[in-house]
Symmetry: C2
Subunit: 1007 residues, 2 copies
């Protein structure tokens, strides 16, 4: 047996310390701590383990697929154990919990207890501690919080430990949200990273300002600042100090009986490298990141040499070398009682050298980015429904989607910087996670509609078969594509995960054109039949075959659209039947086709917004919001950049052929085939004051041998004066000035790529009168390259690798049997013009609606008695209650222990809106309808420690040139346990764990 | 401290077995033994660690210079310990003791005791057990014995263990001497190897005859046969079963919670590979060599997968997989009680595929090969002198030379197949070893000459400063190049390490031409002054600067030659002084110069041998031995093959210019400048009946862009009928037939390279009347490509790598500052023609003299009283005694424990010589003059076990088609402890450890 029967072994176990150690019978003194008055070289043994990149996360873990990359995280963690056991002075940090958890699950209790002791003693320190080292450009802040929470709570539960340090060493630029929200608000004492602009780095080295105090939030100011250190080069050891198996750095050869003894040379190399770094660093503490991607596969090879270096360098005495961790380093920095330069805003965009801006990835793999974003919103809603029904540990539950989403935030996942097969792996995981979450949603809705109680799921029958339509975006929804002509009704339950009542137009394909819609009270609802468009039928046919592996049924000829009204955290029910039987029926849309030869301008729109479109050019030429008395010329166009080796010229794509206008009572659509591979729908809702643009881009042709980056430009006459605003991970907006950086005098080499920023929520420009805002449905890159214009990059298809390691061109291709096509993207963006200072409301409220679309669930009924036999409307909160306009429930989740995790987010920055940028309140008693709150504990953002405890512990850093008290920042006060009212200041997110007294609340461990 | 203060560790040490193990909390059943009735797959975890190849031995050990090759033997052995501790079923074999000893010296006693337990229990098995896995083409058998002894005795002393198995998995062809001498005579039960001719392999696979009984010796026949197995492919695992860190074989992924679970596929792969091998193997036991060059750097990566394979394959049940070793495999083969095909002769030459003969290396690096050979003879002599004086453990002693020579036998050392810097490392080690041995020799001689006793070194003063001249071959000997005109005498002590009295001409440079030589008794000895030649002065000037780093003094104008007579294992003393003072003086040589325009034949030679040389062609055209009444036309010429991409054409190099004849009373020399880079001296000694040819070849020009392989051809009229004879490692001669193999029908693709064989002693051809023998001074390649002709390859300089891993062309270049030149080779070969059947005497006796040249030590004296004040002649054996002509003392050495190690070798094969190929006797009492033998223990060849014990243990294998008793083979009988007479049958080598009673014999541990 592998581990059994080793009786003879017991006689030898006392030798363990020596056994697993460096075997030379030489004792190295590795016990050095910090020595005052010397340069202290903090040697931080670390491995950087991408949660998927060139290989999938599982392949990295088990070490398969090594022909792509030799990497096996299991080796790292296995060999770490023996190496740390052998010398208690040795230290190691571990970061990526997705890997650690895989390993942990495989360990015996004995190994687990050894590792727990490592963690307790500080030999092993969890750093960062999220499931992955998430990207900082492409993820939404809610995903960043969720994935960090998942890792942090695991560490807390297993080890009772709270990570202290942020460690974003590899992401390609660094966001303000990372610094203040996922740094300070998580309770971190410091935050380290490797990649900042090469020009910025040079300046910071000269000024010894790589290490700063970073205030990432205007609203939270000094209350959410953090010590933030950029590394002098990268996250690798100084040149010549790599000690992986087979690495070619000179090992320390200290055996005088053998040739090539080199202790003196190696000590000199070490001292020289230390002095060089000390010369650009404040205080006499420097950190060496002793490791890199997937290293420490045989940890002893590193420790053997580090032991020797510490021993001989300290014998030499010129500098002091010690085993350290980022925590020890941080404490040493703190103890030095220096003040540090202040840093605001963020570290985007990132160029690692001249002409090498890493801004393309903001848009890479737009389908994956959209999938991640839509799953993120779905996960939020699914957890609410899981909460209403009660979590099942044995499943189905939302855990698998949680894991998949967490991994997808990795800086080579949603970023699009991974190999294709790895991107497929993320999608597969999301798909598996979705399938399980879909069951949770369906059964929760079934329970709720069948519940005897109208305010929850009590004894509800869950047999009702609710179907959902994840491929609705390509007009594929088998659940709605049912023939109602023989007497069946289609029942649609519409769930709203926002805390506000919501009115919105929903749409889905139907096969009958003579249908009628009724609401929960049996009233007929105005509806509109919109003809399906060829472009979508092609998309549907190809991608259903690509994704589901079988040809879909014939495409439905119509979309049905109608307005729904849904209570907060609740649902409404609508039935669809044939109008022959039950009512007046839908209004068919009128269809008008305009040829470009016609020299006319077409005005469309039935609500406040009217657009005038040039039939000649196919462009919008005028935008009027009669409600707000705004008129503005808006020209929208497409163009593309050619890939590497191409130029910055971007030929405009002139729309050709016809413009088709579809009009009806609710929706107006303008259809344009821009060119053979771009189709666009411009959509106006009668009741909405924004323009929705839906695009189909692809397959991007490459038969000219050129890769293409497809962008759209929306051009206004606003005098935006080089200035635009982009969000940080969907939260704070940061002012951007073209060809300018706040922190240094920018040498402009790339006027396009160097002005691109990541966009998750939106981008806006303004002048003295107006604001022009564009909101997006996924993460993408955008800019304002020309005053008055906003540019979004929608799709990229490239033919050359960028020589940054992936070794694969970003040429996404789908295949149906042998019919392979470049990936086609479908998506939306939204724009609107407001008077100056009034745009925030739309950006914040509608932005939240984009993130959390209404969730549709379909079922059929044979008769007409659905409404009488089911709960047809439901709200999880008090019926009289609605959350403030400025607040979103970004987490409502039942924890494994039966408690609830609640996160409330104030959506507005300070000063952003004259009305809403103020302290606001949420009444918890009304939020948890029918449940008795026993205890509310405010937590750190990642919910791994009490907020009060965190506040007490966090190091308070001093900003250079700033003496005295920090200005008081508005923050919500403590929650009175009686009143249970939560205050939220602008941009504040507050996290609570809530204990309920309700007897029906179980502590369940189903499995 | 690295290993101290781990108090908390103690609480956890009970977990050791699990800790260091595969960490998955899954128990694998790895306990499988052999299962009858199934295919048993013996998994043999092994690492093949070249004792120098692309990196030096020390670089491989410590893991430096990894940019050349990622390899660190320290990692292998360190990680082996933890891996074996974790599961007692896991096994490992280790081969190369040069590495193991380095590691062992570094280990604490605790680790040592753990490893001793591994060895005791059989988890770790020492296989082969020499210092290196020696080559089988280039080494001399004495070196093979010495290096094996060094390793075997270490293993015996430290572990009490005797390796059972030969493991020559990588050498490029396999020799008869390896099989019978370093296999059977060492006591091995079997012998495995990886490389045999691809045509041979194919046939053997078809016939299931990869595994054979190999009788390597005609003379020793079945008494020295061994089970010998060639691997089906190489010494690596089956394709897809490599599990090194970062290897790209599919790991066994058995975690169903992760993607890519592949247990079924991997088990199927395993079973398929096993069946495939079983189909070409007799019995149901097959061996898989699970490892390759420098693998197991992190041993756990292999064991983790092997554990799983054993577990799942055995669960599957189609075949049985087990941890095994070559011993277990051998015993299983033996237990199967099969008989096996008989194999005789050897496995040379080796081609790994069509047109890829590995025969060039027989001649690669001729300077290194010569250095190794000359050090080998020196080491033999030095140990004798060390024995006479008494060994000093604290040094100087011969240990360092022993180590250097041992390592130099590696199959990428003396072979010449290593990188240049590694070749330099071997030379450096030899040089260091020589320097120390030189001190031993000098002080022993000093002791002996100053000893009061004439039969040993007793209380001898060792201050006499004896100098030796290792660069004598390039006419550099500072010790002899002293001006004697001012009254000094040069004293030359001449040591003879053979067991016979010996008369020979010695020569060394002198600065005075008017010198006289006196022998021990004061009698003047005839001597001859030979003018130095320009070619040698150039050589001396360049290479002294290259090797010693400084310009030598002016070149002496003369060589002094005279005949010495030296007793067996003893010395004589000669003094040189100016003839003005002390005698008649040397005879100056006459010098005659013949130009190629002269149409004449020059006859030279003053003894029995006369050569006629064509002045026109510069060739020898007639050879006459008047003593033996032999006359034969002998034409000797040079040519070269061009390197890869060249053809087999070899343009003859026609001598140009003059022929110079130097004649004197002792020596006749014919000097020819063959071309600008070949100079040749043909030398006849009046008293000798062979021709000595001394060549200088180089720098081989490469300015035509072509590498060149320089060969010499000696062409006679013998009707040799495609047949020639070459020695096996300097011992048995094997019959070779051109374009023919005994074991299979050769498909001839390379009529030159495919007929080359390694030569260490010599090569001969014969016809019905005569034998033509050529003896060499080092290992080289040779053949008889044309009937009557012998061809030797003398030098190679190539411009292309052979794509076998070295990644460096064999273009040896020396530099003096910036003056870099292709390496020039100086050397000798010897030839002679005998009546048929009479050549062996010369080949054997003179061959031994070539191996053991007279050792010259010089000192000066001011007066003329050396002979009276010193012991001027000495013999280590009884003065009346001489060893039989057929016997050489190939080892006489004082062991660390004060005992003596003695090896006596019968030099003749059975039937080789009508007189000498018979049983002969050595009287030990006379051999050890003045020492009382207490006990004589006959040992195995490598002196690690009693011979009797070995005979009892060795497995006796059955040869196919051969029933009944093996024919009785002549072997010397037991040594009567009273008579102490050793019998030696033809080709027998007997090894003894001798205890002395002599009180002066110390058990000394000086250090």
């Amino acid at each position: 047996m592998g581990i059994a029967g080793s009786g003879w072994l017991l006689g030898m176990v006392l030798l363990l310390g020596i056994l697993c150690a460096e075997s030379k019978y030489m004792v190295y003194n590795t016990s050095a701590g910090i020595v005052a008055g010397k340069i202290n070289v903090h040697l931080v043994p670390h491995t950087h383990d991408d949660v998927g990149w060139l290989k999938t996360v599982d392949q990295y873990y088990v070490g398969s697929n090594n022909s792509i990359q030799g990497a096996c995280v299991q080796n790292v963690l296995d060999s770490m154990v023996t190496a740390l056991l052998a010398d208690k002075n040795r230290k190691f940090i571990y970061v990526e919990q997705a890997f650690f958890q895989r390993w942990w699950r495989d360990q015996s209790e004995q190994i687990q207890s050894i590792v727990k002791e490592f963690v307790r003693s500080g030999q092993l320190e969890f750093i960062n501690g999220g499931m992955c080292m998430h990207d900082e450009a492409s993820p939404h802040y809610i995903d960043m919080i969720d994935q960090t929470t998942l890792g942090h709570r695991f560490i807390k539960e297993e080890f009772g430990i709270t990570p202290r340090i942020g460690w974003q060493i590899d992401p390609f630029g660094h966001s303000a949200v990372q610094a203040y929200l996922l740094g300070a608000e998580v309770g971190f004492d410091s935050f380290f990273f490797g990649r900042i602009d090469y020009q910025d780095r040079t300046k910071r080295k000269n000024e010894k300002s790589l290490e700063v105090i970073w205030q990432g939030s205007k609203s939270l100011g000094s209350s959410a600042q953090i010590f933030a250190g950029a590394f002098p080069e990268n996250y690798e050891p100084p040149s010549g100090f790599y000690f992986e198996v087979n690495a070619d750095s000179p090992i320390v050869q200290d055996n005088i009986e053998l040739f090539d003894y080199n202790v003196h040379e190696r000590v000199n190399d070490f001292v020289a490298a230390a002095i060089s770094q000390a010369n650009i660093t404040r205080t006499n503490h420097i950190m060496w990141t002793m490791g890199t991607d997937f290293r420490y596969q045989y940890a002893l090879t590193w420790y053997r040499n580090l032991d020797k270096l510490i021993h001989y360098v300290n014998k030499d005495g010129r500098v002091n070398a010690l085993y350290s961790t980022p925590s020890i380093y941080t404490d040493a920095k703190y103890a030095a009682s220096k003040s540090w330069p202040l840093k605001t805003e963020d570290y985007f965009p990132y160029a690692d050298r001249i002409n090498a801006y890493w801004t393309g990835y903001f848009s890479s793999r737009p389908a994956l980015k959209r999938y991640v974003r839509s799953m993120s919103g779905y996960y939020l809603a699914a957890r609410q429904l899981e909460f209403f029904k009660g979590r099942s540990d044995s499943g189905p539950n939302t855990d698998s989607l949680a894991d998949a989403l967490a991994i997808a935030q990795h800086h080579d996942a949603v970023t699009g910087t991974e190999k294709q097969h790895v991107a497929n792996d993320y999608a597969k995981r999301l798909s598996i996670g979705y399938s399980e979450a879909e069951k949770v949603v369906a059964s929760s809705l079934a329970c709720l509609v069948n519940s005897k109680s109208s305010n929850g799921c009590e004894n509800g029958d869950t047999t009702t078969n609710f179907q959902q339509c994840p491929l609705l975006n390509i007009t594929y929804c088998p659940a709605s594509e049912v023939d109602l002509s023989h007497g069946k009704n289609l029942v649609v339950v519409v769930y709203n995960s926002l805390g506000w009542k919501r009115e919105d137009v929903i749409r889905f394909p139907v096969v009958n054109e003579d249908v009628v819609v009724h609401d929960s009270e049996g009233k007929e609802v105005e509806s509109q039949i919109v003809p399906t468009v060829d472009a979508y039928i092609d998309l549907r046919d190809y991608y259903v075959r690509a994704y589901l592996g079988s040809k879909p049924n014939d495409a439905p000829k119509y979309w049905l659209a109608f307005t729904v009204s849904v209570p907060p955290l609740g649902f409404s029910t609508y039935t669809i039947s044939t109008s022959k039987r039950t009512g007046t029926g839908s209004t068919k849309s009128s269809i008008s086709k305009y040829w470009s030869s016609e020299n006319s301008a077409i005005e469309v729109g039935q609500g406040n917004i009217k657009l005038t479109i040039s039939a000649t050019q196919g462009n919008i030429i005028n935008y009027v919001n009669s409600g707000k008395l705004i008129e503005e010329s808006v020209e929208q166009s497409f163009s593309y950049y050619t890939g590497f080796n191409g130029s910055n010229d971007k030929p405009p794509l002139i729309p050709q052929g016809s413009v088709t206008v579809i009009q009806g009572p609710l929706i107006t659509e303008v259809h344009q085939q821009i060119n053979p591979w771009i189709f666009q729908t411009t959509r106006l809702y009668k009741e909405k004051e924004h323009v929705e643009v839906e695009f189909i881009v692809g397959p991007v042709p490459i038969d000219d041998g050129l890769g293409k980056e497809v962008a759209t430009q929306i051009t206004t006459s606003l005098k935006s004066d080089k200035t635009f605003y982009t969000d940080s991970n969907g939260r704070d907006f940061i002012k951007r000035i073209r060809d300018f950086r706040t922190d240094w005098d920018l040498e402009v080499n790339q006027p396009i790529a160097g002005n691109y920023y990541p966009i998750n929520l939106g981008i806006y420009i303004q002048d003295s009168e107006k604001e022009f805002s564009v909101l997006v449905d996924r993460s993408l890159g955008g800019s304002s390259i020309v005053d008055g214009q906003v540019e979004l990059m929608l799709h990229r298809r490239l033919l050359l690798d960028d020589s940054r390691g992936v070794d694969e061109a970003l040429n996404e291709t789908d295949c149906v049997l042998k019919d392979c096509r470049g990936l086609t993207i479908q998506g939306k963006y939204y724009y609107r013009i407001d008077p100056l200072g009034e745009g925030a409301k739309w950006r914040r409220s509608f932005g939240q609606e984009i993130y959390s679309p209404l969730l549709l669930a379909f079922t059929e009924e044979d008769g007409d008695n659905w409404m009488s036999s089911h709960t047809s409307t439901f709200s999880g909160i008090a019926s009289s209650y609605s959350l403030p306009d400025s607040v979103a429930v970004i987490t409502l989740q039942e924890l494994v222990d039966g408690k609830a995790l609640l996160r409330l987010a104030h959506l507005y920055e300070i000063g952003e809106d004259s009305v809403r940028s103020v302290m606001t309140k949420v009444e918890l008693k009304k939020l948890f309808l029918g449940k008795k709150i026993a205890k509310v504990t405010e937590m750190s953002l990642s919910a791994n420690q009490g907020r009060a405890e965190m506040e007490k512990k966090r190091l308070v850093w001093e900003v250079e040139g700033h003496s005295g008290e920090n200005p008081k920042v508005a923050r919500g006060g403590p929650v009175d346990p009686k009143k249970l009212v939560v205050e939220l200041a602008p941009m504040e997110i507050r996290t609570f764990v809530i204990d309920f007294n309700h007897p029906s609340y179980r502590r369940r461990f189903d499995s």
